[in-house]
Each structure stands twice: as structure tokens, then as C-alpha cells.
Symmetry: C2
Subunit: 198 residues, 2 copies
């Protein structure tokens, strides 16, 4: 199911096509080689001091117990995501490697990398859905995530599934139009709260 963004002005098709569906095919695995391409895309994101503060934990069918453990971290509202054949967990390293001082851009830079990752997935015909709704403390314990690293998002990666396989309330949400605030509410010209006008 395609749901291109109803943009006010044309943008690159890859950016417009990316969205966050919930219908995922539980029976079609994603090859490790394909996951490697997604990781390679994230690899070339920019970052402060080229620190590359992103880490990704990959849970796929090759390690069923780890995948099950990752699923067990999801909140009830994200139960639909347990069908995904792959979950990723993005993690931020909160300090710089070269001097151990706090990196205030770490989480921001993980976002830069993860956007690359989900766009590359879009290009390969995969769907992705990043989720804040998971038990980060549990994930830290289950997967040995050290102090100084912050779990950011669980990411569904899979091939598109069937709308009919979603439970009813989610089916409606899947079909609902994509919405965003108008840019005039958050893009300012030279000073806060002065709407940018082209």
C-alpha cells in the first residue's frame, strides 16, 4: 500500500513515499544482505565530529530467541509489531570517543542516521516503522546495553503485509490520510514565531 505524502510542493519521491505502515508480512523474511544495505545507508549520515554515535541492534530470524526477547520489550500498543520478521533497536552513544565528554548531539545524530536507514528501506520496497513505545530498561538488561548508551527506537523492518490482517482500529488508521502541521507553524524567518513565507 502506497501512501505518498500530500505535499504542498513537490519533493523527492523517495522522501514522499516513506511512511510508517503497520501491515507487515510476517512470512517473508528480510535477507541479512538487505539489512546490510540499510545499515550502509545509515553509515554515511553526517554527525558532529564524525563521531557516528549510532548503534543498531539487529534482531532477525537467524536468532529466534533474541528476536522474541526484542518483541517482549514492546508496549501493548505496539503488539502489532510482533509480527515483524525483523526488529532493529537504535541506540545513541552519549559521549565522544576522543575525549569522553558529553555529546549533546548524539541522539540528534542517531536521528540523521535512522532517516537514511528508513529511506534506503523504502527504496528497496520494505516498510519501516520506528517506535518509541518499548521498555528501554528491559532492552538494556536483555541485550547488555552499557551505561552511557541510550536506547532510542525500535524499528520494524519488513515487506508490506495485507491490510486485512490488521485488527480493525489499526486498519482504519492505516487508511487514514497522512497529516502534518503547516510549515508556517514551525519554520520562522529570522526570529521566533515570525512565520517563514516564500
Amino acid at each position: 500500500m502506497e501512501k505518498p505524502a500530500p505535499t504542498t510542493t513537490p519533493i523527492h519521491a523517495l522522501l514522499a513515499r516513506r511512511w510508517s505502515p503497520r501491515a507487515v508480512d510476517p512470512d517473508r523474511p528480510v535477507k541479512p544482505e538487505t539489512l546490510q544495505v540499510l545499515l550502509e545507508a545509515s553509515r554515511w549520515a553526517p554527525s558532529c565530529f564524525n563521531e557516528q554515535p549510532w548503534r543498531y541492534l539487529v534482531f532477525d530470524g537467524r536468532n529466534a530467541s533474541a528476536l522474541e526477547a526484542a518483541r517482549s520489550c514492546l508496549v501493548d500498543g505496539n503488539a502489532w509489531a510482533k509480527k515483524s520478521p525483523v526488529l532493529l533497536l537504535s541506540v545513541a552513544r552519549e559521549s565522544f570517543t576522543h575525549n569522553n565528554k558529553p555529546n549533546r548531539h548524539a541522539q540528534h545524530d542517531v536521528g540523521l542516521a535512522s532517516e537514511n536507514l528508513v529511506l534506503q528501506a523504502t527504496e528497496l520496497g520494505l516498510m519501516t516503522h520506528q517506535m518509541a513505545g518499548f521498555d528501554a530498561a528491559r532492552a538494556r538488561e536483555l541485550f547488555n546495553i552499557p551505561e552511557g548508551f541510550t536506547p532510542m527506537a525500535m524499528i520494524v523492518v519488513g515487506y508490506p503485509g495485507k491490510l486485512e490482517d490488521l485488527p480493525e482500529p489499526l486498519r482504519e488508521r492505516e487508511k487514514a490520510p497522512r497529516t502534518r502541521k503547516p510549515a508556517s507553524e514551525w519554520a520562522f524567518a529570522g526570529k521566533w514565531d515570525v512565520a517563514f513565507m516564500p
Copy 2:
């Protein structure tokens, strides 16, 4: 000057082409309509609860004093960026609009949006360079950025300039190969520090 990422596996050309040059054409302005396209690309990034915590302050030639003020926030190491005809400042809203509770994904989600923005710029033949090196407290004061919002990155947006116009040490950096850590150092399979292998 193009400097496509030397990837280990092919990725989408748009992602491979994006990089962070310093040579910017000081004499070629960026039309407001073009900046609007960049903002529209960021608009369709995903975010936790669809909060869209990103804000962008735009400094362009239409308000010379605001642009000069933005330039005055840059640290000495980023003096080269004062030549840019446009600066953007990305800002994160640290709480959710619907309940005012902290949004721990705010900065991460600004990263998602900014990556869309710089990729759209790449598509339009613009160069971008996100910078952590600026005086955030000064920016807050100069541009009336309220408490509860965190300035994240100053972003150069312009058309590519000439290598010869950069001072010598930067000229060498501009030509240096792009480098990243191997994915095996930060992509793990099922457990921390177990390298993901395709």
C-alpha cells in the same frame, strides 16, 4: 565538487551523494521558494506521536541583520560558514504539545527531519553543512528562542562554491576522502558487541 560515499554496497544515489562541503558560493542566493521545498521535505519526516518537534529558523538575504546575527553565533572554527547566503537553525521542542510531558525523542526526531532536509537540498543541487559549533545561548537570546526549546544545529545552505576560495587547511579537508567506521563496530546481532554479519 561531487564526493560520493565509497560504500561497501550500493545505496540510493541521493544518500551517497550527500556530504558536508565547506566551499559555498557567497554570491548566489537561494530563492525562498527553494528553501520552502527543503522545509517541506523535513515536514514529512516521522516523529514520536507525530509531534513534529522540529523548528527551523531561516536566515536569508531578505533580512540582512538577522543573517548577520546568525553568523555572529558561529564559533571561530566555523568562520568559513559566514560566507553562506543562508543559514538555518534547527531547534527541538523538548515537551509534547498534547500533555506538556518531556519528549525524550525530540532531538532524535529533529535529526530525522533534518536528514530529509539536507537530502532534498542535495537533490536540488545545493550543498548543506550542519554545525554543532555555535553559541546556543547567544542564539536563544538573539532570536527569542523560548525555554523548553533546544537549539540543535546551524545549517549552511547554498550553492557549491570554488575550492580555491577556501583557505588552505580547509582546502585539503575538502579534498580528503570521506571516512566512516566499519559497520561491524556499531551494528550488532541480537546482543551488544556481537558484530552483525550478513
